[in-house]
């Protein structure tokens, strides 16, 4: 029943897309599409949540569509229902937000028809249970999101973003296609149930793992396959950016989990090694890239790369523990990864929606043109602040809990008997710790430069607060961030069936631990109580306020800023986004980005201004992508001659190809 409702929900979304076509220019279209999507997402969310929490049995459904001899298989198991919760929670928040935010859309006809399609495709990817439906939904997801990325195609950079995205998405799908073909074998057993029973050979499993890392990893944003992500995610309208970053990357994580943990079966011992190494690099590179940005939405997109790294660290550890038969430790790492999937979808949606509110309120997303928004947009500022604290993994909010669990999983890994892990895991732990600290620095910058200080432009000085729908969506996500931070035990328990079905074990039941603490292994080993920490902080802060205001002084006098006696009224004298990042750029950037600062000082007596030029280079792009793009360009330029031949030449080509094929058939044993 639950699965049927989910499929009907996806169908309703597709119908909504068709219905929006005649009314896309009127406000009715916006209300129809976003209101409809909101209702459908909430329904689907409720059904999936009930299935997950009720620990209902697996549900399967086969529809007579798709390939005639195969049909379309769908399955609702705990893993699928967890990811449905993530998808629909994000979908509901973005739809609610867009009810108000959609008013600012200049080209609604380019957004409205594709938005519900995008949501439907993500739902279908998660419930698909055969390779054909999976890839169909996956490609559907890529194309509908591509259309949304290209919604504002008047901007040159968006066109480039769309181009890079479509190339990388096609490449990723190709990798998945080959992977499924290898898994299905020569008989074409495309149903997942058949693949599960087939037990591929070691070589095939290894090849499939690499292909999945390319296919799902490129969609999720694993370094070095992340290049499209920071271009494409910010290009879309903000509520779609939220879905791209907060939800679609999670669907890619789902694909990785489904194929590696479920379909391939027992992982090879080195699988975890590869994943961990990639994940550690992804973490640090993502956050370092983010620190160098001054475009708010691009900064957030790069942070998605970092968080995907954290999720994959959990998954890599889970693979390693599973390969060596430590089921409980594997369950801990896997649960940490899934919890971070949920947490990241919550705060990344929140932050992208906040950046949309800033964009709508000022027309700017360049942080160097913002500042002081906390005065004009206090509510948005508050929600954005909560999102920043959460994503920086600071207690008592939710980001900390999942990172804490990941650290606990790392601390269990000395028992892994392989030397490779003994050397790699501490390094990955250090990279994770480094990225957590850098993330906090990055969000001090993001919030501080955008919302604090003095307005740097007229647009920032005249900002206006977001509308009610947007604020409701952002406050709902804020509340969820806090809730997941202070009551993590319930969230961990909800993930138990998913972990059990994938790694064969689950973490100890947290709701039985007294006082709502979480205890991953044993209380003498480690425990954390978000609620108590939160209450402690609340009580001590209020006690301080009360005591000081009662017994000491509560007088306030307003005056000009002190600034050590040299206040400068011009807002340009504030620290900007790039000057804030300067110390970190100097420490890390010279190595990673080949950052160079050049100061041009005019000679004494010359009144010319001094200039500081900073140059950064994207090493991964220069080394990995530019040569490939250059080679493709050169080859296509060379093949260009073939376009201007006479018809006789073309006919002779056809004839030669025919002869060649016949010869091959004749010679083939």
């Amino acid at each position: 029943m639950a699965l049927t409702i989910i499929i009907v929900c996806a169908a309703v979304l597709i119908v909504l897309s068709a219905l929006s076509l005649p009314v896309h220019r009127s406000p009715l279209g916006r209300i129809l599409v976003y209101g409809g999507s909101l209702l459908v997402s909430l329904t689907s969310l409720a059904v999936a949540l009930a299935h997950l929490l009720g620990q209902a049995p697996h549900q399967a459904l086969t529809l007579p569509i798709g390939l005639p001899w195969l049909g379309a298989h769908f399955l609702l198991d705990p893993l699928a229902s967890f990811f449905l919760v993530v998808v629909n929670l994000g979908g509901a928040a973005a739809s609610l937000y867009a009810l108000g935010y959609g008013k600012h859309e200049r080209a609604p006809q380019r957004v409205l028809p594709f938005y519900p399609l995008f949501l439907a495709s993500m739902i279908l990817v998660v419930v698909a249970d055969d390779a054909f439906s999976f890839l169909f939904a996956w490609e559907f997801m890529s194309l509908s999101s591509w259309a949304l990325v290209m919604a504002h195609d008047r901007l040159r950079e968006n066109v480039r973003a769309g181009y890079v995205y479509i190339v990388m998405a096609s490449f990723g799908t190709l990798a998945l296609l080959i992977g499924f073909a290898l898994l299905a074998g020569p008989d074409g057993a495309f149903a997942f149930s058949a693949i599960r029973d087939s037990h591929p050979s070691e070589a095939i499993a290894a090849l499939v793992l690499v292909l999945v890392l390319i296919g799902a990893g490129s969609k999720a944003g694993l370094v070095p396959l992340h290049a499209w992500l920071p271009l494409a995610h910010p290009a879309a309208p903000s509520h779609v950016s939220a879905l791209l970053s907060g939800v679609m990357t999670k669907v890619a994580v789902y694909a990785f989990i489904r194929i590696t943990f479920d379909l391939i079966g027992t992982p090879a011992w080195w699988a975890g090694l590869v994943v961990l190494a990639l994940a550690g690099i992804t973490c640090v590179m993502g956050v370092l890239y983010a620190l160098m940005q001054h475009d708010l939405k691009r900064l957030l997109a790069y942070h998605t790369v970092e968080n995907i790294g954290i999720i994959f660290i959990g998954l890599g550890l889970a693979l390693a523990f599973q390969a060596f038969g430590f089921a409980l430790a594997s369950a801990l790492a896997f649960t940490a990864a899934l919890l971070h999937v949920l947490n990241h979808s919550l705060f990344k949606n929140l932050l992208f929606l906040g950046s949309g509110a800033v964009l709508a309120g000022t027309g700017e997303r360049d942080m160097e043109h913002l500042g002081g928004l906390i005065h004009r947009m206090p509510l948005t500022a508050f929600t954005f602040l909560v999102g920043c604290v959460a994503i920086s993994a600071l207690p008592p909010l939710n980001g900390f809990v999942s990172e804490w669990l990941t650290f606990q999983a790392i601390l269990l890994s000395p028992q892994l008997p392989s030397w490779a892990f003994k050397f790699l895991v501490p390094a990955v732990g250090a990279l994770l710790a480094l990225s957590a600290a850098l993330a906090a620095a990055c969000f001090v910058k993001a919030f501080g430069v955008t919302f604090l200080g003095r307005p740097r432009t007229e647009a920032a000085a005249n900002a206006h607060e977001a509308d009610r729908f947007s604020l409701t969506a952002m406050f709902a996500l804020t509340a969820l961030c806090l809730l997941a931070g202070i009551l993590p035990g319930y969230f961990i328990d909800a993930l138990a069936p998913a972990a059990k079905s994938m790694v064969g074990a689950s973490m100890p039941l947290q709701s039985e631990v007294p006082y709502l603490s979480i205890v991953p292994i044993a209380e003498s080993r480690s425990s954390y109580n978000g609620l108590l920490v939160f209450i402690f902080m609340l009580v001590s802060a209020s006690a301080a306020v009360l005591v000081i205001h009662r017994l000491a002084s509560n007088r306030v006098r307003r005056g000009p800023a002190w600034d050590c006696g040299y206040p400068d009224p011009r807002p340009q004298t504030q620290y900007s986004a790039s000057s804030f990042a300067q110390p970190i750029r100097r420490v890390f950037g010279t190595l990673v980005f080949r950052a160079r600062e050049r100061v041009e000082m005019p000679p004494p007596g010359d009144a010319a201004p001094a200039r500081l030029t900073v140059s950064l280079s994207d090493v991964i792009w220069d080394v990995g992508y530019a040569p490939i793009a250059g080679a493709v360009g050169a080859i296509s330029g060379w093949l260009n001659h073939l376009q201007y031949l006479s018809i006789r030449r073309y006919l002779s080509f056809v004839f030669a190809a025919l002869v060649g094929l016949l010869l091959m058939l004749a010679i083939w044993p």
Binding site: S413, F423, A430, A436, F443, S553, D563
Partner: protein, 318 residues
């Protein structure tokens, strides 16, 4: 009855850290002054400063936001909670399981997050320079701290401070290279985190290398008092942490009789005196670093921490 008693011990710990924090700073200043052949301010001068600041009105910049006014309370709350969770005179306190060492480090991270934001709020160049340098220092000090936590957690088989202190005090530990490395790294981190010489100079704010003092330049009155008290608490926290992990003797075990608690308090005060004295000697015998030498200094801590963790990973064969 037992519950009330353990609550009372926990409350005593919270009051004790709050009461001793300014005294520790006064003691360090006094010793430093004596080492420089000066008379120095009296031991209780930090208390007097705090009371005077608390009584004064707050002069707030015209464009200060609510965050600027709320930040001192949040910083104080996070630091105080963290300081109350580090075992000082007794371990296994009733709330000690609510946060392990990783969470304590993260709580200090929360405090720093708001402090750095407050530095940016008024929009002055001084605040900005302080905040940007503070996060640069933190971006190296925090991972170094976590590596130290990893090392000690692997030694003790726990991230729970009470368990760790208990294990490190027992005779099972023996002499280990990793622990030595962790100690050196922790001292470096503690110096950097508390803005002491050679990383930062706590006695001045008009110097090109300032970090902490530049960040809080716009604060005045009760807000400044809370910020000062928080940094005093943080200093106390780090000294207590080094004490409970590396000199874990004298700490009263869980459910100890009152006599053991008194011995614990005496031992704790002795540790603070020793820690404060060593800090003062260290600070007077070393010169301040240029700000872009600090990453090298902290890099040593990070590498030591990583090496110690690696050793623990390699050493554990089971």
């Amino acid at each position: 009855m037992a519950l009330i008693l353990s609550l009372a011990v926990q409350a005593a710990q919270m009051v004790l850290v709050l009461a001793l924090a300014p005294l520790l700073l006064g003691f360090v200043r006094k010793i430093k002054a004596r080492l420089l052949s000066r008379q120095g301010p009296p031991l209780i001068q930090p208390y007097r400063d705090l009371i005077r600041l608390l009584r004064k009105e707050v002069v707030l910049a015209n464009n200060a936001s609510w965050l600027f006014r709320a930040a001192p309370y949040l910083i104080f709350a996070a630091t105080w909670v963290a300081a109350s969770l580090v075992p000082t005179f007794a371990s296994g306190l009733i709330f000690s399981w609510s946060a392990d060492l990783i969470a304590i480090v993260a709580l200090l991270g929360t405090a720093r997050f708001f402090l750095a934001l407050a530095g940016l709020d008024i929009g002055t160049a001084f605040g900005g320079i302080g905040s940007s340098r503070e996060v640069m220092i933190a971006s190296l000090a925090e991972p170094a701290m976590l590596m130290i936590v990893f090392t000690l957690a692997l030694v003790a088989g726990s991230t729970q401070l009470s368990t760790m202190a208990g294990y490190l005090a027992s005779s099972e530990v023996g002499l280990r290279v990793s622990i030595g490395m962790a100690l050196v790294a922790l001292i470096i981190v503690a110096i950097a985190e508390n803005a002491r010489i050679p990383v930062d100079n706590p006695a001045t704010h008009l110097e090109l290398t300032m970090v902490h003092e530049a960040m809080v330049l716009e604060y005045s009155g009760r807000h400044l008092a809370l910020i000062d008290l928080s940094s005093e608490l943080k200093l106390l926290l780090y000294v207590s942490l080094i004490g409970c992990l590396f000199v874990p003797w004298g700490i009263a075990p869980p459910d100890a009789p009152p006599g053991a608690l008194l011995i614990g308090i005496a031992a704790y005060v002795a540790k603070l005196v020793a820690g404060g004295f060593l800090l003062a000697v260290f600070e007077t015998s070393i010169a301040k670093m240029r700000v872009f030498r600090v990453p090298d200094f902290l890099g040593i801590a990070l590498m030591l921490g990583l090496l110690a963790t690696l050793l623990m990973f390699v050493a554990r064969s089971h």
